[in-house]
Point group: C2
Chain length 205, copies 2
């Protein structure tokens, strides 16, 4: 049994979806990111000194942090782990490459708009970056159903999570300007694991 | 034989160091990130549509992008690959966790200061974030010689590369305020692979 520390709609949504997709047994522990307390009254910094979600407690009680690392762990422990198991298999590194792309080029750029104090000049710089990365992603999704090919992977769980933020935040850009990303997002939104994750985190959109 | 596309001192310095540390055979191809042309006259976007370094061309001619993914690949193909080979081995995920931490929490934050148009309000936000992450890192390096334990790993090559930027950029912060990080950086600076990488990229500091 795994334990996932999460905050509703935060990037912990990605491992939440990935655990469901991979049918791994887990329990959820909610963290209030303002007070840094867990719902069961524990100071979160005692769990993760970095004080951010997600945290995955492994079956041997080791604590694993960083969304992209947790997602790769889940992929390597799910029912399709053998498909990415060998260092001679390029699929393995395509998954890692996509995870790092979402983490460093999308999560960190789009997530910055959560900061209400973000100055307008910074928004201009970030918008250019988002356009650039979305142009690349849209072209990729034109010829590939999912990020790493014809099958859903944990990288899509992560990409979906960040695109969800994009839909909520006021970035000054519209997802509909990238039709392949829009179609991809809408298709993912109806996946059973994503519907369940929304319910379990109490998300409405 | 691998090929590494790099730009002097960019985050491609990390896989450059890692290739040397792991004694893997490689050649370097220099990219001008202003003109987006390689030194041998190729438009870089035809190599990597994302138009950024590093790119590692594998021995089977597959193109791998994203620094953290390339570094994990190198670790999995170096002489110590067996130490991180099993999904039952937590060391494997500690390495990945450190790579993702450097990528998303250090590279992306410190690297933003390369932008000369960065407004002062943004610098204030970023400085707070750097302090926060450096406090965590300094505490970690107090009890651990390297990022993932007593041995140097590819995550240290990445962390060194980003700390080098910190020393060059005007962030308004001083590395000497974090003594364990300073000691770690100075120690890494004299590693033979890092000295060679500096020479090969024409770096002086």
């Amino acid at each position: 049994m795994y334990t996932l520390y999460y905050s509703p709609g935060a990037c912990s949504l990605a491992p939440h979806i990935a655990l469901l997709e991979n049918k791994l047994p887990f329990e959820l522990k909610k963290v209030d990111l303002k007070t840094h307390m867990t719902a069961d009254g524990v100071e979160f910094s005692t769990v993760n000194p970095k004080n951010y979600v997600p945290v995955l407690v492994l079956e041997n009680n080791e604590i694993l942090t960083e969304a992209a690392a947790i997602l790769f762990y889940i992929a390597e422990h799910g029912p399709d782990a053998n498909k990415i198991a060998s260092p001679d298999e390029i699929k393995r590194y395509r998954l890692l490459e996509s995870l790092v792309f979402v983490s460093s080029e999308m999560h960190k750029v789009i997530g910055t708009f959560f900061n209400k104090q973000l100055p307008e000049e910074s928004k201009v710089i970030l918008r250019d970056k988002i356009k650039n990365r979305f142009n690349y992603l849209d072209a990729k999704l034109k010829s590939s159903e999912y990020l790493t090919g014809p099958e859903f992977s944990v990288a899509d769980a992560y990409c979906f999570t960040v695109l969800r933020w994009f839909g909520i935040l006021d970035t000054g850009l519209m997802l509909s300007d990238w039709p392949n990303i829009s179609t991809y997002f809408e298709k993912l939104r109806t996946r059973p694991a994503i519907v369940v994750a929304y319910e379990e985190e109490g998300l409405t959109r």
